[in-house]
């Protein structure tokens, strides 16, 4: 396999890695983890092991002191990571050479304030140099993004991922679809991260409703996916699914040496 040399230099097709990945046939398994957890310097190893074990895409969580859309598991991992000393600058340092060993799409996910303090343009530039393909910033609203930051994101080749929820109106979904260029992050239910055990009828009908809208962007489902069964349900209609809290719980219990077991458990 040929790896891109460095950063976001476009490959032959001129596409961002996220776009390439979305064109592949399989259902995508994406994993979220909090950078700096369990130990400060686990970041590169976790990413490399996830790729080796066949994960398709990664959300690297930039820890924040007040993660208001996250449940207890991700909150605790963020607090822990910050105690370990994680900062935006250290994360970029840890990822400096990641593109020498990893070729799958890498997305940074976090809250807007740390990005704002780093300087949005500087942050995006650093992402491009590092080889980050996209950003998920749940508290950066659509209208502010379009007015103030879209041009900067595009300049540095970054895909911005928006969320939708079961309460999002069809009109708003159309608006988000039009503003998106990658995938739509479909929050499975009205909840913070990690707060449910399985999917019921209301999720099934929500998944169907969204599939029926024939959006231009594929959807990747997140929140509440914890095992092979919920992964299968979530990806019946959608292109992929994201697992976060369940993976963090696994790291808490097993450390970073058995990541393959976790992935096999999902893909079985």
């Amino acid at each position: 396999m040929a790896f891109p040399q460095n950063g976001n230099e476009k490959n032959i097709t001129g596409m961002n890695r996220i776009h390439q990945k979305l064109q592949e046939d399989q259902k995508l398994l994406s994993i979220y983890f909090t950078a700096g957890y369990p130990s400060l310097n686990d970041t590169a190893k976790i990413i490399q092991d996830l790729e080796k074990n066949g994960v398709d895409m990664i959300e690297i969580g930039l820890p924040f002191s007040d993660p208001l859309a996250d449940g207890p598991t991700i909150q605790a991992s963020s607090t822990h990571a910050l105690k370990n000393g994680m900062t935006t600058e250290i994360l970029f340092q840890q990822l400096k050479d990641i593109r020498k060993t990893v070729s799958m799409p890498l997305i940074l996910m976090g809250y807007f304030n740390p990005v704002l303090q780093y300087g949005v343009a500087e942050f995006c530039k650093k992402c491009q140099e590092t080889g980050i393909d996209g950003l998920i910033l749940p508290d950066l609203p659509l209208d502010v993004y379009q007015k103030e930051y879209e041009a900067i994101f595009k300049k540095y080749g970054l895909v911005n991922i928006f969320l939708i929820t079961p309460q999002t109106s069809d009109a708003r979904i159309q608006q988000i679809d039009a503003a998106s260029d990658g995938f739509i992050y479909m929050v499975s239910s009205a909840s913070v991260t990690g707060s449910q055990d399985g999917f019921g009828n209301s999720q099934e009908s929500y998944f169907k409703r969204i599939a029926g809208m024939k959006l231009k962007n594929p959807q990747v489902v997140g929140f509440g996916i914890s095992n092979s069964e919920t992964f299968r349900q979530a990806t019946k209609q959608a292109k992929g699914a994201i697992i976060g809290s369940a993976f963090i719980k696994f790291l808490t219990q097993n450390g970073v040496d058995k990541i393959g077991d976790f992935v096999k458990g999902i893909r079985k």
Partner: protein
């Protein structure tokens, strides 16, 4: 210069609604409807009636003769401490519970620090027969036992915020998480002039009854509506917002906001956000907040739980940035002594929050004929323990 919110939800560069998509339908629904609902004659009638018969408004504007003599200026006290539940907080919760009913909500959540807003919310929920859940930091629950008991008597469930520093900031995070988890039936009664638009404006409008009354009360007493100065303490900033509101565009009125310096602005234990804060995002709005260089929100400190918040409402950030308001920071010690002065000279034991405002009389000189209106935002009953410990009473 406009000091009110613009149609996009900003005060100059501050404000907005920096919220995850999960909160968008609720906040957007509120944004579209709040002004219309507040303008409905039936809403106004019910709001005014409750403020009069239940809260006990208008609160007196009292000329503090002995305090005036001591400091050689004309000091008036706006007696929000005489409201039902003992503080200005109830003005907002009455307004918001009526709003919640009109929005068809059946369940109410709130955050609280010292418990004043929690009690005011539990009170109006009892009044309206609504389910009420109050989030409170685990540490605050331990140190504010009487208010926890009050909320329980009023039928509210008090849920501990166990994350982060387990104080007001974290209670707010927990309330927001609850709202994300319960988007359909729940209204979130934010207690201060913070949060995503339209909250700062809505809370300010409900609290603006304070300055509305000051105007006609001062006219009766001094023959003019505008004082030379209005003074209020400021944490998130709801009592200050209400005290300033009708004077924002009256150029001859000086506006003074008093922040909590804790052990001193440079001590590392302070809540003086205007000095120590930087532009950032907290609890859904862009404002000045205390944070690390890396954008992590830090823990403030003040002896007064009501001022112990790392941010400040976006309206106030704008008043600071434009120079419209004068910001003064007052230490724990200065505030505690001011509380004692007011008690001894006027027979009024103030909340420690309000004591911060009076403390400026020691250092900020006013002319003998200046009319200076202080908002006495709350009474000191809840702070007796702190006063006892501090003065070894």
């Amino acid at each position: 210069m406009n000091y009110n919110v613009d149609e996009k939800g900003y005060y100059g560069e501050f404000g907005g609604a920096y919220i995850p998509e999960m909160l968008y339908p609720n906040v957007e629904n509120l944004r579209q409807q709040y002004l219309e609902i507040m303008a409905e004659p039936s809403f106004k009638k019910e709001f005014d009636q409750l403020l009069k018969d239940y809260v006990g408004r208008p609160s007196p504007l009292y000329f503090a003769k002995r305090l005036s003599e001591k400091y050689n200026t004309k000091v008036y006290l706006k007696r929000e401490d005489l409201n039902h539940t003992g503080a200005h907080k109830v003005n907002n919760t009455i307004g918001q519970i009526l709003m919640a009913k009109r929005l068809g909500k059946t369940r109410v959540i709130a955050e609280t620090g010292a418990g004043q807003h929690g009690v005011a919310t539990a009170t109006v929920c009892a009044l309206m027969g609504m389910e009420c859940i109050v989030y409170m930091g685990e540490i605050d629950i331990a140190r504010q036992a009487p208010n926890v008991a009050r909320m329980k008597m009023l039928g509210a469930e008090v849920r501990p915020a166990l994350s982060g520093s387990r104080t007001l900031k974290d209670a707010t995070n927990e309330a927001i998480r609850d709202w994300i988890n319960n988007p359909v039936d729940t209204h979130y009664i934010i207690g201060s002039a913070i949060g995503p638009h339209p909250y700062p404006d809505m809370v300010t409008r409900f609290q603006s009854i304070i300055s509305e009354e000051i105007k006609w009360q001062l006219k009766e007493k001094e023959g003019r509506e505008n004082p030379d100065y209005v003074v209020a303490c400021i944490g998130g900033g709801s009592n200050a917002a209400g005290t300033f509101y009708h004077f924002l565009h009256e150029k001859e009125v000086g506006i003074i906001a008093v922040e909590a310096a804790g052990h001193g602005v440079d001590s590392g234990e302070s809540a003086a956000t205007s000095v120590l804060g930087k532009m950032g995002i907290i609890h859904g709005c862009k404002t000045l907040l205390m944070q690390t260089a890396d954008g992590q929100i830090t823990e403030p400190y003040s002896i007064s739980a009501g001022l112990d918040y790392p941010g400040v409402g976006p309206m106030h950030a704008h008043l600071y940035k434009t120079g419209r308001a004068e910001f003064i920071a007052v230490t724990d010690d200065e505030a505690m002594h001011a509380g004692m002065v007011l008690s001894k000279l006027e027979g009024i034991i103030p909340a420690i929050e309000s004591s911060h405002a009076f403390a400026i009389l020691e250092t900020r000189k006013f002319r003998p004929d200046d009319v200076v209106v202080f908002n006495l935002s709350g009474r000191g009953d809840k702070d007796l323990d702190t006063y006892i410990k501090y003065f070894k009473l």
